[in-house]
Subunit: 151 residues, 3 copies
């Protein structure tokens, strides 16, 4: 059994099947112990501050982490091979006046810390954006470090 998937279950969450890439890219790519996950957009569509609320976008940020974890599991076999979350870039599709991107992104960061503990704490950048693929509200990309036994 996977320790991380058990923790997801305890939180009342679960991984869906990994979604295939919509274009010519990999779900993630490895360089040494670093794993670069491709950017994924939320299933939630709409501009934060007009079409959708901050709270809805925060939940969407959390759920986008689940989409990325599903892909990583498919590619490397188990989420238990993740040693550390290193860096997250979050783009929040923002109305002209919406400036609370860090609070939206906490939806993603909180889950990573719940799952991976202190190793899940990470550097990150929360940025507004005017448009995202398919009109999504949130886009995340994450750099992880794998356990060295997997090298």
């Amino acid at each position: 059994m996977s320790i991380i998937e058990d923790k997801l279950k305890e939180l009342g969450l679960q991984l869906q099947a990994a979604k295939p890439s919509v274009a010519n890219y990999l779900g993630c790519k490895r360089s040494g112990e670093l794993l670069f996950a491709s950017g994924r957009v939320s299933e939630l569509r709409g501009e934060v501050g007009t079409d959708v609320t901050e709270e809805e976008a925060k939940v969407a940020a959390r759920d986008t982490v689940l989409l990325i974890l599903a892909i990583i599991k498919q590619d490397i076999g188990s989420l238990d091979l993740i040693q550390d979350v290193i860096k997250m870039q979050g783009f929040i599709r923002s109305s002209a006046n919406f400036t609370r991107q860090p609070y939206v992104l906490d939806g993603a960061s909180d889950l990573l810390v719940q799952l991976f503990g202190m190793n899940g704490q990470h550097a990150r950048t929360a940025t507004g954006i005017n448009q995202l693929p398919f009109g999504a509200s949130v886009q995340l990309d994450i750099i992880l470090q794998l356990k060295s036994i997997t090298t």
Copy 2:
């Protein structure tokens, strides 16, 4: 002869002379076997969805890869020293309603896979953006891994 430049020739493409940086930055910088290429903008100007079409932007994305490869060749001596394409960030200058950024970015990804085969497959993030340097339509930045013999 360069294997990669031969493949470019077969595709009917060729490298131009590397363009100097327009401000105080390097064309690329190395850390161990990772090579971080600076973001480069397309020669194509204009907003995708209004001023320019998706198809024009896709060609511009491909041509921006050529600009980056010219700089890398100048800096490290040969494109044959590239082991893997790891990660690409693509910013597509998008009108309010343009949401097909992944398809534009395939112009860049397709060329990298044609040149480097399976090693050219990469993680990436395709993001809309409201404005880019000089009003360009596309901006790419790429992380590569070099062959270990070059360390």
Copy 3:
């Protein structure tokens, strides 16, 4: 005494106390010798090209480097442990017609080169953006390499 802080003093600049993160993220996170600093926004608010000038934003970019260096010093103990500046991503909150992001970002790059010499030269990407946390004018995130004696 710190060599880098001495250089700051010569330039008439100094580090302030590191500001705590406004949400659930670390100031920086390390992976091997790479140090990923979280994105930080300038204290300057407003859109470049309308609310604030290019020159004001350039100074703000420089000052944002000081905010990041204060956090790094707090986290790793001394700025003298920095070996190389590898990559910078700069988001410049830009009006519809402002396209001189590279010149704004030189405010940050110039300071890094003044402080770290040739090792301070770096790859970077200068991107426009429609909105940033708290309405800031500039956001920087930086990847550094630490000296190997610190591994």
